[in-house]
Amino acid sequence: MNRGRQMLRKILILALGLVLAFFSGLSFYRSRHLKEPVVLGPGVTQVKKLSEYFPAIRGSTNDANVYVMAGAKPGGSILILGASHPEEPAGRLTTWILTENAAVEQGRLFVLNSANRSGTTVTRLGGAYPADYTIRTAWGEQKFRTGDRWSNPLDQWPDPEVYIHYPTRQELAYMDIRNLNRTWPGRPNGTLTEKTCYALTQLIKEEKVDIVIDLHEAELQYPVISTIVAHQKGQDLAALASMMISAEEFNIGMENSPKALRGLSHREIGDNTGAISLLFETPEPFLDATRGRTDARLLLEGKDEFVVRAGKHGLLYEKIDDKGWPIDIRVGRHCSTIIQVLDLWSQDHADKAVVMKNVPKYNEVVQKGVGAFLRDPAKAAPKTVYYE
């Protein structure tokens, strides 16, 4: 082949590569910049930025919205975190229900829909995750970014060989330096993820938060599932909530936060601030290693024949059948557990009560679906629409 034809072939192959890079890059860019509207509900009295508690993160991807709901009557303060791990959508959708529906009569509720916003802008590298998922509503559809467990490498890169947790110096897996639930209590001069935890810690201290609730989901092959993980300061509260919910609505356990495992919200918030720290887990088959096709359907319906088969072999810590674990059930569990914890706390601490209304319980979410509690941004006043 002569040199001219060889060069033409090379140019063509390179051009094909550039076309591939262009379209994949466009897809990644659109996914990263997908706007997720939040229509402020009747209870939201103020929207702050996380950087107001730690200016070093101002303008960064993780300068998240903090939705504040203050009741007319003084009381306690509760902080609820969604998207510590963004690819666990039940937690994130629960925060949407809270910000768009909750009304607070006493005390204050702080809600972050995107605690690790960076993690919402990327999907699992090599994991073939769907870029986004859609929730059907009476007024149409609302799209959400799927996200990942870890912060986006575009915001924090490279990872170290070994992640040494601050301040305990415990050695953890290298990628967990981008894991918001391994970097508590945070470090002011650390990585973006560590700074985010530091900012959240400052929020908890400055606002004198009484309880922090971190919303998660877990694979069925992981023993910490369908449970409330509690710091020792919140043992009684979590145990009572677990008993009440299990008697009235669905089975949920209670586990003690291990003292030797560092960086997790349920351990470090309780150790380093005045707040009680609780972490809720619901079952999410999408996360199981033995899953089949990793698509938005699995994310939302939680049906997977391979996970069911794993269950038949006794490999799971939670039941699963052909009905799967639909998102409505998972979100409903989080809603009811939050309501129960707030009720029990308020009964025992009248001066620090947090009384919240208009949040649906488990049965209502399962019956009506998550979409029934999402508001139409097109019909809302523009000043009441924020974006995540």
Binding site: I13, L14, G17, L20, A21, S24, G25, F28, P158
Partner: protein, 49 residues
């Protein structure tokens, strides 16, 4: 921050090596392979993925 910049420089270097290999190769199969390897390096350089 300095380490991040060094990593981006490394990515640029590897991307340039891939382009060099494409230009030097005589087999189209190898050229396709180099292009496929090049794409993720380009996406990181352009801060798209």
């Amino acid at each position: 921050m300095i380490i991040t910049i060094l990593y981006y420089l490394l990515v640029a270097y590897v991307a340039s090596l891939m382009i060099w290999n494409i230009l030097k190769s005589k087999k189209w199969q190898e050229e396709v392979l180099y292009v496929i390897v090049l794409v993720p390096f380009l996406l990181r350089l352009l801060r798209l993925k």
